[in-house]
């Protein structure tokens, strides 16, 4: 009889805890929904404004791309039939390639980093399962160390001024929001880069995989990396003649 009572109490307690858990869940979700819902109506105007600006930006960006093509043609025009000038034109083209202003292709690797799918209850710190800005930064650094010549993350080209930041639960690259899974493309020697990334003691083996983050590294004969989708306007640094 006593045994039964104990069982009943335990079961009752468990049911109570479960119900409470579910109630909290439902409350959180509906709570967050209702905030979004309300602001949805209130912020419609703002949202429309954002979209309007995005469209204006897209349009002017197309204009810029067109103008850049025309400039290239005009430059070619002005520099042809003169060895010295053609050399300069080639140098400008090569330079633009290196600073990220043109789309490039070549052999390399494609690395993907995705948040761990492991059951969160089996790890001490659920944050370990998430790919952080510092993780991306470290993988990029290892790729450069292995001789990467051009790199993009989810099609955001890494240029000399590219910063990688944390913004809530997403990462910002070139000020654009980027979420997991992260697809990092790099052009360079596929063997050297793969070897460096997957070496014992490297960042991937030592930290990412140890933390349960899912990593794949694929060698490819040809990978295309888009051009930088921003503009480089330097205001402060002046060339010393």
């Amino acid at each position: 009889m006593k045994n039964k009572k104990v069982i009943s109490i335990v079961l009752g307690g468990m049911c109570f805890a479960l119900t409470l858990g579910i109630c909290i869940q439902i409350k959180t979700v509906t709570g967050s929904n209702s905030i979004v819902g309300e602001s949805n109506r209130e912020n419609d105007e703002l949202r429309a404004e954002v979209l309007r600006y995005k469209e204006r930006y897209d349009n002017i960006y197309k204009d810029l791309e067109r103008a850049e093509k025309e400039l290239e043609k005009e430059r070619q025009n002005a520099t042809q039939n003169n060895g010295d000038l053609e050399e300069k034109e080639e140098a400008i083209k090569q330079g633009n390639k290196m600073i990220g202003m043109t789309e490039v292709t070549g052999p390399g690797v494609i690395v993907t980093l995705s948040d761990g799918k492991k059951d969160t209850s089996t790890v001490l710190n659920a944050s370990d399962l998430i790919v952080h800005d510092a993780d991306v930064l470290s993988v990029i650094n290892e790729l450069k160390n292995a001789g990467a010549e051009a790199i993009s993350i989810n099609d955001q080209r890494i240029v000399t001024t590219t910063a990688i930041t944390c913004d809530g639960n997403v990462v910002r690259i070139n000020n654009e929001k980027v979420g997991t899974p992260f697809e990092i493309k790099a052009i360079g020697s596929p063997e050297a880069m793969e070897g460096a990334l997957l070496r014992p003691g490297g960042y991937i083996k030592e930290y990412l995989e140890a933390d349960g983050i899912h990593v794949t590294v694929k060698k490819v004969n040809n990978v295309t990396i888009p051009k930088y989708n921003g503009v480089i306007n330097w205001e402060y640094a002046k060339t010393i003649e």
Binding site: Y53, N82, A150, T160, V178, A237
Partner: protein, 237 residues
């Protein structure tokens, strides 16, 4: 007596089944909940709150202005080439100008401008490692740094920063030892406040007992990348 026992058994079975069903339903609901939460796209504009939308709007406005400025520059350059199409000497001057600009961004020219100088040094309690420098460079870029060097090694697109041992750090393939003098050209105020913000880079360094010093300067000179920038693998499409 027998009947009572049977009834009791029946009761037990019913309870078990009911409990099992309840548990199943509960679990099912929980999984559904998890799935909904997982599917919410956090980068979508539809789910943004007011403050996020404001930031987003400001973001697009800045980007628009930047592109607009660049567009005018490109048009001007194009016109310059047009005007010099029959004069090789003038065309050469225009090309030189454009090449200098490209080389500036590449890191192939010495540059000067306002900015900050950050010095990180080893002390008895703590050594500076490559991660400290990697994060510092990233912080400076967040704050809009245009040119950066570490002990006169210019940071370019392909620059790497790795540890050799506790006292040597390799940048651009060159071995460097402390103190690490990191120069950055950009808006002094943004650069400094980016590092000194509460809970930011400087606080972190202090928490880890690492020595760090920031100095604002009106005129900083940053040397060009020393090596030849030669790319073997990439092709323009």
């Amino acid at each position: 007596m027998k009947l009572e026992l049977r009834n009791r058994k029946k009761g037990k079975i019913t309870i078990t089944i009911v409990l099992g069903l309840v548990c199943f339903v509960l679990l099912f609901i929980m999984f559904m909940q998890f799935k909904t939460v997982e599917q919410t796209d956090i980068t979508s504009i539809e789910t943004m709150r007011e403050s996020e939308l404001q930031t987003e709007l400001a973001n697009w406005k800045t980007k628009y202005t930047d592109v607009d400025k660049k567009l005018q520059e490109v048009k001007e350059k194009k016109q310059e080439y047009e005007e010099t199409v029959n004069n090789k000497e003038e065309a050469s001057a225009v090309a030189d100008k454009e090449l200098t600009e490209v080389n500036k961004v590449l890191g192939k020219t010495d540059v000067k401008g306002e900015g900050i100088v950050v010095t990180l040094s080893d002390n008895e309690r703590s050594h500076i490692n490559s991660d400290d420098l990697l994060l510092l460079v990233n912080e400076l870029k967040i704050a809009g740094a245009e040119a950066i060097s570490i002990n006169d090694e210019r940071i370019v697109t392909i620059s790497d920063i790795v540890d050799i041992n506790t006292t040597i750090i390799k940048v651009n393939g060159q071995r460097l030892i402390g103190p690490y003098v990191v120069k950055a050209i950009g808006n002094q105020k943004y650069l400094e406040s980016g590092l000194t913000a509460k809970g930011g880079y400087m606080d972190n360094m202090e928490d880890n007992q690492k020595s760090m010093k920031i100095e604002k300067q009106r005129n900083i000179e940053i040397l060009k990348y020393n090596d030849e920038l030669k790319l073997k693998y990439i092709e323009v499409k």
